[in-house]
Amino acid sequence: MNASGDDAVVTVPVPPTGLPVANSLATSRPARLLGAIGATARTLVTALFGGIGRAWFFTREVVRATRVVSDWRPHVMEHARVLGVDSLPIGIFLAVFTGIVLALLASYSISDLVPLYFVGTLVQKTVTMELAPVLTGLALAGRVGANIAAQLGTMRVTEQVDALETLAYDPLAYLVVPRVIASTVMFPVVVGAAMLVGLTSGWLASIGLLDLTTPQFLKGVRLFFETFDVRYGLVKSASFGCAVALAGCHAGLATRGGAEGVGRAATRAVVLGAILILVLDAIWALVWLTGKTLTH
C-alpha cells in the first residue's frame, strides 16, 4: 500500500519483443533439466571422490591398527575358519560347474582347424587366471562381505562398538583387522581349491562328454601352462579378499538406523565388494598382462 492507502500498482517493465528474457529462460524446461543433470553430476562426483577419500582414510586407520597385535591375533583363526574354510564348499561347487561348462564351451568354440586338445589349454588358462579368482571372489563377496557387514552393523546399532571403545579397545584392531587378514589369507586358499577342482572337472567333462583322451587334454593343459598363471590368480584373489573384507567392515561400521540399516549395510557391502573385485581384476590385468605375450 502507498501512503494514500490505495493498493500500490506495481509496474513490471515489459521487455522489447524479440529480446531474450533471463527469468523465463531460467525457469524453462531445458534449463531445469540441465540444472538437474549438473546437480546429479555434482552429487556423483562428490560421492565418488568422497567415498574414495573415506576408503583411503579407513584403510590407513586399519593399517595403523595392525600394530595392536594383541587385539587382533587371537581372532584371526576364528575368522579364517568362518570366512575361508566355511566358504570352501561354495568355491568348490562353483568350480565344478565352471570347469564342465568351460570344457563344453571350448569344444563348441574351436573350429575343425584347431585341434581338440586346445580344450585343455582354454580350460587351464581360463580357470586358473580368471574364472576361479573372479567367480569365487564374487561369490565370497556375497557371503563374506554380507556376513562381515551384518555382524559389524549389528554391533554398531546395538552400541557394542561404542562399548568396545569405552573399554579402551580399538574397534578397528579388534573387529576389522582380524577379518581383513583372515579374508586376505583364506581367499587364495579357496581360489586355489577352486582352480584344482575346476581343472579336474574340466578334464572329467572332456574325457566323458567330448571325444578327448586324458593325454590329449593334458597335452593341451601343458602346452601353454606357466606357473605365472597360478601366481597371478592367487595374488589377485588375495587382493579380492582384502578388498571384500574392507568393504564389508566399512559398510558395517558405518551402519545407521537399526535393523533396516543393517540390511542396507549388507547390501552395500556386497555391491561394493563386487565392484572392487571387478576394478581390481582390470587393474591386475593392466599391471601384469599388458605387454606379456603368450609363450610356451
Binding site: M77, A80, R81, V85, G192, A193, L196, F225, H296
Partner: protein, 337 residues
C-alpha cells in the same frame, strides 16, 4: 571355547596345507618337473633356434625323451641348446639335432636323429656340416616352419604378381588383336598347308604311277638295248666298228680342242663383260654425281656461272697466249749477272 579355538586352528591349518600341497603338486606335475630324477645332458649348437623355447620336448624316433633345458647365445654366432634326456635313452649313431615346428600352432620340438637319416635337403645338411666339428657338442639345424615357408611363398607370389602385371601391361588390346590376327593367319596357313599336302600327295601318287610306267618303259628299253648290244657285238666282230670308233675319236679330239678355245674366248668375254659392268657402274656414279651437281663436271653442267667463268677464263688465256707470242720480252726477261 578353547576346544572351539583349537578346532578352528586345525581346520584352517589343514585347509591351507592341503590346498597348498595340492596346488604345488599340480603345478610341478603340469610343468613335468623331475625332482631328483637323473638326467643325461647334451649340448647342441646351431646358428638359429627359430621359435624353440625352454621346456619344449626332445624326441627320438618320435618318442619323447627329454626337454630343452636352456638356450643361450654362444660365441662366433652360435646358439647353444642345453638338452636334458632321460638317463636310459640311447642316442642314434652320428647324432644330430633338428629343430622344427611340430604343429601349426607354434609348438616346436628338438628331434635327435642320425646324420645319414637327415632329410635330403642341401640347406639342412649344410647347416649340420657347418655346426659339426666339436666332440662335446651335437650339430643342430633349424627346419623352416610354415611361417617361413609362407613368407617365401609370399615373396614368390609377389614376383609372380609382378610378372603378371608386366604381361598385363605388355599384352594390351593391340597385342591381343595382333595375336588374334597371327592365330588367324596361322590357321589359314595351316589350312593352306593341308591343301598343299593333299594336292602334293595326289601329285605324288601321279608321279608314282608315272614312275611305274617309266620303269616298265625302261625295262622295255633295256630289252631293246640288249638286242642292239647283240647286234653291235656281231658288228664288232667284223672290224667295221674299229674304224668308226677311230674316226669318232679323232672327231672328238677336234671338238675338244675347239671347245677349249671357245671356253677361253668365253672366259675372256666374261672378264670383258665384268670390266664393262664396272665401267658402266663408274660411269653411272659419275653421271649421278654430275646430275646431283657434285664435282667439277656437275658444277659445270648445273651451274652456268662456272661455265661462264671458265669460258671467260679461256678467252683471257687465249688473249694472254697471243700477247706472249707478240711481246715475249714483256714476259720473259733472261739476265746473266
Amino acid at each position: 571355547m578353547t576346544t572351539s579355538r583349537a578346532r578352528n586352528d586345525v581346520l584352517v591349518g589343514l585347509s591351507i596345507v592341503v590346498v597348498s600341497v595340492l596346488l604345488l603338486a599340480g603345478v610341478l606335475w603340469l610343468r613335468q618337473a623331475d625332482l631328483g630324477r637323473e638326467r643325461k645332458r647334451l649340448v647342441a649348437r646351431t646358428r638359429d633356434v627359430g621359435s624353440l623355447q625352454v621346456g619344449n620336448p626332445v624326441v627320438i624316433r618320435g618318442v619323447r625323451a627329454g626337454t630343452v633345458q636352456g638356450i643361450a647365445l654362444g660365441g662366433d654366432g652360435w646358439v647353444a641348446i642345453d638338452l636334458k634326456l632321460d638317463r636310459e635313452v640311447e642316442l642314434p649313431p652320428e647324432p644330430a639335432v633338428l629343430l622344427y615346428a611340430s604343429s601349426l600352432f607354434g609348438e616346436w620340438q628338438a628331434m635327435v636323429t642320425s646324420v645319414p637319416a637327415l632329410p635330403a635337403d642341401r640347406a639342412l645338411q649344410s647347416q649340420i656340416r657347418d655346426a659339426a666339428g666339436r666332440r662335446d657338442t651335437l650339430p643342430a639345424a633349424m627346419v623352416p616352419d610354415i611361417a617361413q615357408l609362407t613368407a617365401v611363398a609370399g615373396r614368390i607370389a609377389g614376383d609372380v604378381a609382378n610378372v603378371a602385371e608386366r604381361v598385363r601391361v605388355a599384352f594390351d588390346d593391340t597385342a591381343a588383336f595382333e595375336l588374334r590376327g597371327t592365330i588367324r593367319d596361322f590357321a589359314s596357313l595351316s589350312r593352306e598347308l593341308s591343301r598343299t599336302v593333299t594336292a602334293q600327295s595326289k601329285n605324288l601318287d601321279r608321279v608314282s604311277g608315272d614312275a611305274a610306267v617309266a620303269m616298265r618303259a625302261l625295262r622295255a628299253a633295256t630289252d631293246n638295248v640288249q638286242r642292239v648290244a647283240g647286234r653291235v657285238d656281231s658288228t664288232t666282230s667284223r672290224g667295221e666298228l674299229a674304224a668308226i670308233v677311230a674316226d669318232v675319236q679323232r672327231s672328238a679330239k677336234d671338238i675338244l680342242t675347239a671347245a677349249e678355245q671357245v671356253k677361253s674366248i668365253a672366259g675372256r668375254l666374261d672378264r670383258t663383260g665384268g670390266d664393262l659392268e664396272r665401267a658402266i657402274a663408274s660411269a653411272d656414279t659419275v653421271l649421278a654425281r654430275v646430275k646431283r651437281g657434285q664435282g667439277t663436271l656437275g658444277l659445270l653442267s648445273t651451274d652456268s656461272s662456272v661455265y661462264r667463268n671458265t669460258d671467260s677464263l679461256l678467252i683471257e688465256l687465249r688473249a694472254l697466249v697471243k700477247d706472249v707470242k707478240a711481246n715475249p720480252k714483256r714476259y720473259v726477261n733472261v739476265r746473266i749477272f
